[in-house]
Amino acid sequence: MAEELVGNRSFTVSVEDDETIGAMISLTLGVPNYNFFSWKQFDPDAVQGTPAVVFVDVHLSGDENGLDFIPDIGKHWPDAAIIVITADEDENTLAHALALGAHDFVQKPIRPLELMARVKARLDEVNRRPDLVLRFGDLTFDSRLSLLKGPLGETYLAHKEKELLIELIKSQGITLAKDVLKRRLWGAIKVTDNAFDRKVFEVRKAIKQVSTHTSLQTKYGIGMHLLYAGAAIAHKGDTYVTS
């Protein structure tokens, strides 16, 4: 079987109205597959981490067209391979899917050996992309897996929390205003302070789970930044002090 195929990103996601197809994908690849029956039901925050592959059926129930959702899937999981499932042999459909951001397609009926070959090819390509692992202090964040690691352990972040942490790591300790972060995370969509604070709370909690030396600091009325106290600790020799 193909447990080794998807590496440590050990699950896939499908948007497919036929549950037997989602189940066959799981059985063929040997990893769990989280199936959403429609786009209405699709909720990336219900899935922890980044899937290795997202399969999207073109013809969904209720006249939904899976192609319409490819750009959003790409935004939710930029490091996942998107593979379109279709019974349609129309070249225009496939060209349209690829233009929208899909990486590949499989035709129905899904032939298990072909599925495995296509998944392997796409993952090889995705895994060659640079800058997937970000670092700050004693934290390491793998954006493909949405996995945060530190001296105390590791934890997965949901989608928006992942985006927030990436922004904070990229700023490398420089304070970012709340409004700036909101704009980077949600664009033009208006988000309440309460909703934003919940995401901050989750990121702070995740950092606490994996490190005692790195923290998310809030400067009231200004913004927030990451702080690593490891350097100070090193200067104190055997005495462990955290700020």
């Binding site: 037997t20 189940a23 066959m24 063929t28 298990p112």
Partner: protein, 131 residues
């Protein structure tokens, strides 16, 4: 003539889906049977209601899941009926749905026989269809 696609069955076998994962395959098969039985019942109702779009969607679904599990004859027949409706035919003839249901029953019998033979110690490729 077999109602199932031998090449599909062979690839299931090559991947071990019909030996060490036979239990899981059987679960998927049971889900397929439940869903397809429901879809055919809905198809009969939607056809009586002259809901052409719903009929096309149901046939599309039956086609996809059937071909995916190697039930070639059923998948192709459902696909042909779908195309028939797409060509602006108002509704299906009752006998067409009866035939679809008959192919479903025969395909089910053939697949069940194969799965039972595997459970009893045979292999997927050794068996002949009970047709």
């Amino acid at each position: 003539m077999s109602l199932l696609d031998p090449t599909m069955f062979e690839s299931f076998r090559e991947l071990g889906l019909l030996d060490k994962h036979l239990g899981r395959f059987q679960e998927i098969w049971n889900v397929y049977l439940t869903n397809t039985t429901e879809a055919i019942a809905k198809l009969q109702k939607s056809n009586l209601d002259a809901d052409r779009t719903d009929c096309m969607n149901l046939l599309h679904k039956i086609k996809g899941s059937s071909l995916n599990l190697g039930l070639t004859r059923l998948g192709h027949f459902a696909g042909a009926l779908e195309q028939h409706l797409k060509a602006n035919v108002y509704s299906l003839h009752e006998s067409e749905i009866d035939l679809l249901e008959q192919i479903f029953r025969d395909s089910k019998a053939e697949m069940d026989a194969k799965l039972n033979a595997i459970k009893n110690g045979g292999t997927a490729t050794e068996m002949t269809a009970p047709h």
